[in-house]
Every structure is written in C-alpha cells, then in structure tokens.
C-alpha cells in the first residue's frame, strides 16, 4: 500500500470501519463500492484534510470519484511530498 493510500484508508476507517480498500476496484466509483452516503463522503474528505492538509472543494468532487482519481488528485495537490501542511491549503482549484 502506498503511503498516500494508507492515509486514505486511515481517513476512511472511522467512517466505514469494515471497509477494505484492498477489495476496491480503483478505477470504479468509490462511493457505491463502499456504500458511502453523502455524509460518509464528507467525513472522509474531512479526515483527509486533517491528515494531509488538502481541502477538496465541492466543485472538484467529480474529480475524485474513484480511488485512482482521488490519489492522482491528492498527488497533484501536493500530497506525498512529505509536507503535511496543517490546513494551509485553501479551496482554490
């Protein structure tokens, strides 16, 4: 598991304790696979922000629908560069 994926798993665990990212098809939409409702998804994003300091704006939800897309998005926004900036990131596209 990549460090980034481990962060995603950790952010997911309080929301869906039984979810196992290992069983997820990374190219298919994440929410239906893990049965995440809109509240669960929001809590996942809040968890990611806490861990990575990256706030995914609502307008970008369509860009993070799959696990692969979410990882790519977070990487592009600077996750995994070692910097765990604490909430420094705003909601700019």
């Amino acid at each position: 598991m990549t460090p980034l994926r481990a962060h995603i798993a950790a952010a997911l665990s309080p929301v869906a304790p039984e979810a196992d990212l290992g069983t997820v098809d990374p190219r298919a939409p994440l929410r239906p696979q893990l049965d995440l409702d809109s509240m669960d998804f929001l809590r996942l994003l809040a968890g990611l922000k806490q861990r990575l300091g990256i706030d995914i704006p609502e307008g970008d939800y369509g860009k993070v629908a799959t696990l692969d897309a979410l990882e790519a998005y977070l990487t592009a926004r600077g996750a995994g560069l070692g910097a765990q900036s604490e909430g420094a990131d705003g909601a700019h596209p």
Binding site: A16, P17, S38, M39, L42, D55, E58, G59
Partner: protein, 442 residues
C-alpha cells in the same frame, strides 16, 4: 429507566458514569443502559449532586424505575430520602411518583416485578470497564470478560433461563447472539434439528467447537443487528396494525436552492459545508410549526401536539438495521446548526453512543433514501408519532418553465401521515409549504 420508544419495557443498567457525591449538571451523562437498540447514554435533567444509586450495574428494571437520586442544589449534606422527594432523573417515566415518594431504604423495593435479577449467569459487569466504542457494535460495554454476548442474547437468555456460559456463539469473534440462545433453548426442549424460527444458517444440530465462529454469511444475525431488527419489527408491525396511513407525494424543483447552497459551500472549508440532506431537514423543521397536526404523538385515543419540533432522522447503521434519533427543537436551528446536528447524530448513531432523550422524544421522522438512488419512499410511521416525511434522490428531471421544457434537479418528497390526526388536505398544504420554503430560500 427512560423509555426509548413505545415498545421498550425494560432496560439493563450497564454502567454508572457518576458516583454518589459527584457534582452533576443538566445534560451530563450519568449512566449507560443496554436496550434492544444498543447501548444508550442517559442524561440528567437537573443540577446538583449525585445521590443514592438505586439500581446496580447489571440489573434489569422496567421502564419508569427510578435509577438514582439527584440532590438538587449544592448542599454537601448527605440528606438521604427524607423531606422533599428529589426529582427523578428521567422525566419520561410513567410509574415514577409512587416510587419516588416511598423512601424505602433498600433499593430492592424499586423493582416491583422480578425481585432478584439473578438468573443472569453473565451478571457481574467489570466495574471499570471503559466503553471504547471504536466499532459500531457496543455490546462489549457490559460484557464480562469470559462471555461475549449481544444485549439481545442476554435478554433472551434471561427470558428462557439459559446459561450463556453453555451457549456456543456464532456471531463475530464467537459472540453469542440471540439466535444462538434460541438454538440452545430449542435443543433443550426437544433435541433435534428442528429449525429455529429465524433463518437457520447452521446446517444441523452439530455441537460446534466452542470458539469457532463460523462466518456463514457476513450479515448473519450479527451482534447489534439482531436486537435492532427486533425493535424495528415490533415498532413497524404495530404501526401498520394500528395507524391508518395516508400517503402524498410532491416533486420539488431544487434548482435555485442547490445553486444557492453550492455557492455557499464553495466559499467554505469541508467542515463548514452543508449537505442537501441537511437543507431538506431544515425546510421540514421550519415549515412544521404551521402544521401542528403533523408534529406530535398519538396515544390514549387522542392526538397530542408537541411544543417543539424534535426532528427524528432515520439513520441506517452500517452493520444493518436503523435507528431514528432526533434533533431537539430543530425549528429553532439555523441551517449550519442543523447540519452539525445531523453530522453529530450520524456519527454517534454509528458509534453506538446515542442518548436516551434523542431516542425517546422525536415528534416526527424524516427518512432520506436519496443516496441509494431511489426516486421516492413511502414510509411507515414510527409510533407514537403521526407523520413520516420521505425524500428520494435529487435527480435531473424535465420540468416546465413558463412554456418551455427545462431540466432541473428535482427531489420527490413524500408524506406518510396518520389519518386519525390529520387529513390529506392539510398534508398536501404541508408539502406545498416545504416546496415554497425551498424555492424561496435562495
């Protein structure tokens, strides 16, 4: 012992969070009780000092039993039961008066029903077991170390006088679940492969090894699931038996409301965003005061309107089943407060840490199945409430705008209401009023 729903008759005091002499203030959690709906926190409604504890941990008592006394004010003097009867810690108790006034010293008097609660072989809860509800199952709260059993299983074992120690568990981690107790009871009465009433995953009467937890199906009668299932079954059966439902439906154009909400959320960090689901709750809560006949309870052949809107929210649990705790006085909350109220309820419901007042005091319920992709939902009223509002998914739909066809996001709102308390005319006006609220919020 608070009532956490029309069908609850008794509960087990599983843990005291305060001890005599501790200061308490209104809203403090003083105890945890174990019910069919899982572990529930009991709040106190007055401020003072924790007095005498009348029900011991592990004891099962009927609804209405006084659990402990609160000495109001701050007098450190340990004045026991004498003069003015201290207020009961729970407001919602039917049989409180006689019990409170009888200052009978031995707490045993409290239980008019089965005097010594002894049969429970799984009795003594560890005095300092720290509840760590990391998982949605909250059964381990009062479980003694040796026997892991669900609340429903314990309950059932007491009913049937079965020793849990001799029951083979089939739940997660080998926990004893209700069907195991039924199975054990069936084996006791007439040995043989008679099918237990529930779906029997066990292929035959094999005496399974003590701690092999055969995970036949992951959704088999799981620990909290079985008891919640039973609570749902009894409430819903009663509803369909007693309540003459009528149903109405209305499609609501949300284009403006969602555009407004989207613009509002765009400027906010993730913690400050509001979900459409919260906006819908907000609209219902703020419209209801104009329709008192939909907000309240039916009991003793009469409708009792509620003074506030305690908005019940049906929350599906990931382990199966659902609960419907309420947001108190939701009509007084703004949109952000409604959202945080909802987020808080969902996370605590799933962690198994709801409070007694949240479960027993709802005055109407909203169910939102939109995330599942259903178009609309016609619900079953949660007695003794008299109405249930349903929302389906928000989906693009053709709508007529002036003389043109346009595609807008539309949600279908439904109302299931008790015809004893209201009529379709007023129900329809309510739906229209919610639609107007949503169309004018922008």
């Amino acid at each position: 012992m608070p009532s956490l729903g029309a069908d609850m008759q008794a509960g087990i005091l599983s843990e005291w969070c305060k001890k005599p002499g501790d200061p308490v203030k209104s809203g403090d959690i003083i105890a945890v009780v174990e019910t069919d709906k899982g572990a529930i926190e009991v709040e106190v409604y007055s401020t003072g000092t924790m007095g005498r504890i009348l029900v011991a941990e592990g004891e099962k008592v009927p609804v209405g039993t006084v659990l402990a006394l609160i000495e109001e004010g701050r007098s450190a003097a340990p004045t026991p039961p004498a003069a003015a009867p201290p207020p009961p810690i729970v407001q919602d108790l039917a049989a409180s008066r006689p019990i409170v006034q009888a200052p009978a010293p031995p707490p045993a008097v409290q239980a008019p029903a089965p005097p010594p609660v002894v049969q429970a072989p799984a009795a003594p809860p560890p005095p300092s077991s720290v509840p760590a509800p990391a998982e949605p199952t909250s059964a381990p709260l009062s479980s003694p170390p040796q026997i892991h059993a669900s609340p429903a299983a314990r309950h059932r074992a007491r009913e049937l006088e079965i020793d849990l120690a001799g029951v083979t568990g089939s739940g997660r981690h080998g926990d004893v679940v209700r069907s195991d107790v039924d199975l054990a009871a069936a084996g006791r009465v007439h040995p043989g492969p008679t099918a237990p009433p529930t779906a029997a995953p066990a292929p035959g009467p094999t005496p399974a090894p003590p701690d092999a937890a055969p995970p036949t199906t992951p959704q088999s009668p799981g620990t909290p699931t079985a008891s919640i299932r039973r609570a749902i079954a009894s409430a819903m059966a009663r509803s369909n038996r007693e309540i003459p439902h009528y149903y109405l439906s209305l499609g609501i154009d949300l284009r403006q409301a969602l555009a407004w909400l989207g613009a509002r959320n765009a400027a906010r960090p993730v913690e400050g965003r509001v979900l459409p689901a919260a906006l819908l709750l907000h609209a219902v809560a703020h419209t209801l005061p104009q329709f008192p006949e939909l907000n309240g309870t039916w009991s003793d052949d009469a409708f009792h309107p509620a003074p506030t809107v305690n908005l019940g929210v049906a929350i599906a649990l990931r382990s199966g089943g659902l609960v419907n705790p309420c947001i108190h006085d939701a009509a007084s909350l703004d949109l952000d407060a409604t959202m945080s109220g909802l987020a808080d309820l969902v996370s605590r419901a799933r962690a198994g840490r709801l409070r007694a007042s949240e479960l027993g005091e709802g005055t109407i319920t909203v169910t939102n199945l939109g995330d599942l992709g259903v178009d609309e939902t016609y619900g079953v009223i949660y007695p003794p409430q008299v109405a249930l509002v349903g929302f389906g998914r928000i989906a693009p739909q053709p709508v007529a705008v002036d003389d043109m066809l346009a595609v807008h996001p539309v949600v279908r709102m439904t109302l299931a209401a008790d015809h004893r308390a209201s009529d379709g005319h007023r129900g329809g006006m309510f739906l229209s009023a919610v639609a107007r609220f949503l169309q004018e919020i922008a």
